[in-house]
Symmetry: C2
């Protein structure tokens, strides 16, 4: 499929193959900063309905691509679809965030969790992937995604967002085997779900480990990275003749980049605390890097945005292996024109780094 | 003064001089996890009154020392005393956190900020230091502290706690000179304040940079570390014949430890994401290290606490230069007995590392 793509810059950069300019997309690019997104969300009524209606999920996925020359689309969905499919009862409460009606905690509750089937229980996601692929018509590749088992488990045990992860860390240090039971179950569910997305048409996969950075080094390796490795080992990394690159992104994991690279992933998400040039020197021979501008820069002047894009391109240096992105999702307060300046600056300023 | 101390293990470890066992204290050791603290706070009426009444601040400072064989006391106060003394109007709102009635943002507002005098405007802190030193009667050393200019500026500009620091980062990327103006003013105020504490009797100084880790590397160096360096260069590092060690603690700054060590500080606070042994290998010849157990471990079993203490001691290895601490403040939900197990475990398990 990918060799029919009109723009395969993103996939080529993930595989460290030559490109004409650095590809760029933005985490949460289909989001509230776009007035057309807010209109569709209003039409849907609420966020969960928007995720669960393939036609609407497809519509918002494509919106930023109509505005900007982005090099990839990313499935519009939420990382919490999997625990929801396990029966935890997802609610999204305005200005509070996600909440589960039935969080888990005991060994018995964990043992009783069902194993969702991608097509039977999460068919709305698979349908959205198929529909988006059809509508994209091979213009740019589609990224599928899921949350990491550790990150999903924080919501499943805390019952929602958390500041200090008190319940899950108590479990981690008091009953590590119970937590391992949960993480193993979630890892299998995530692997099935991502393979479902690949079979439905996702051309690259990203695993979001938003909360891995809240752990100590040994705990990160044992309770977060090990389960991303399990998933990766189960994924169809070749599908219908195409290579499906995998991007792992643990936010706040700058101290553990060698460990992440050693999993054999194709690329790593890099947050803005890290220096791309230093990361490349350490692991760039083995993996591509995706990142890493602080999304706060998009609130500054257009000149400041260009300058920061230039600094980051220079830090990575010449050649392929870099997918430009923000270090975290774009926030709702950003002026869409500033996002446009960001994307254009990446393309324009990166050309001199790809002349060989 | 320090040579009259009954227990100078903490100061010796900060200066990397031999000790009989690893000294230990806990960030926020005078805090809500202690029933006697909650009683004094109720007597005071509110948190700000507790900070501003030297007798009560002294009382709570000493409470954990009556319970546990801690190797240091830390002044009970708040990092926001300085912006409050600049007229921003500190309020503490239950379950929301600190708020300023008059946050700053414009160049004119920043230029009009007064420069607090430690004795005239923050005399209640200086009085607390003098009273605590008297009551401690040279049993253990007293740590004075302040927030870093960057961290204080986040509260002064955002008006309170923040998730993504949108206002201050907009200023940083749009009007860096305005932010530098504020940071320079705050740095002078912090230096004056800390020298005031030293003259009143503080025997070591810690600078808390709670939010430095929210920045990119170049922004961290320019907007946070540079101002901690300014302060350090102005501090009286010898006072009445005693060396006053300085500890810098930027949470989430694990990628920049060489930069922090290069400031010439005596010691660095280390959060739990870092491996003490690795940090020691990089910078341990020049600075002492303070940390770094995840406070969440205190919620686990006593056996788990001992095991984690043992792991961290082994990671640092033999010899002096390590002050044991948590990687962040102890939380209100901790059983005081568990804190006791932590402290005793450090003393007991560290002896074999100090036999030479």
């Amino acid at each position: 499929m990918s060799n029919q793509l009109k723009n395969d810059r993103f996939l080529r950069a993930l595989l460290r193959q030559p490109v004409d300019m650095t590809p760029v997309w933005m985490m949460r690019q289909a989001g509230r900063y776009l007035p057309e997104y807010r209109a569709t969300r209003e039409k849907a009524g609420d966020f969960i309905t928007l995720c669960q209606t393939p036609e609407l999920a497809c519509e918002v996925t494509l919106q930023p691509l109509a505005r900007y020359p982005l090099d990839a689309a990313i499935l519009f969905s939420d990382i919490l679809t999997i625990p929801d499919a396990m029966g935890l009862g997802l609610e999204l409460i305005e200005s509070v965030g996600p909440r589960f009606k039935k969080p888990v905690g005991s060994k018995a509750e964990i043992e009783n969790l069902p194993m969702p089937d991608p097509e039977d229980d999460l068919g709305y996601v698979m349908d959205a992937v198929r529909l988006i692929r059809k509508e994209l018509d091979n213009s740019v590749p589609l990224i599928g995604f899921a949350g990491s088992p550790w990150t999903l488990a924080t919501y499943m045990i805390e019952g929602g967002s958390s500041r200090d992860f008190s319940k899950i860390k108590t479990l981690l240090y008091s009953e590590p085997e119970t937590l391992h039971l949960l993480l193993g179950h979630v890892a299998t569910a995530v692997a099935n779900y991502l393979n479902g997305q690949i079979h439905a048409g996702a051309q690259a996969i990203m695993i979001f480990d938003t909360w891995g950075g809240a752990l100590s080094g040994p705990a990160y390796r044992e309770f977060s990275l090990a389960y991303m490795q399990q998933i990766q080992d189960k994924l169809d990394r070749e599908y219908e003749g195409d290579r499906i690159p995998i991007i792992l992104f643990s936010k706040g994991a700058g101290l553990w980049i060698e460990d992440i690279a050693a999993t054999g992933c194709d690329a790593m998400g890099i947050d803005w605390s890290q220096d791309l040039g230093e990361v490349r020197a350490k692991v760039g021979a083995n993996v591509a890097l995706q990142g890493n501008m602080d999304p706060a820069v998009l609130r500054a002047s257009k000149a400041a945005i260009r300058s920061e894009v230039g600094r980051i391109l220079a830090s990575y240096g010449e050649g392929s292996g870099h997918v430009f992105n923000l270090g975290h999702g774009i926030t709702p307060d950003i002026d869409p024109k500033h996002a446009g300046v960001f994307i254009d600056s990446v393309h324009e300023l990166s050309k001199p780094y790809h002349t060989h």
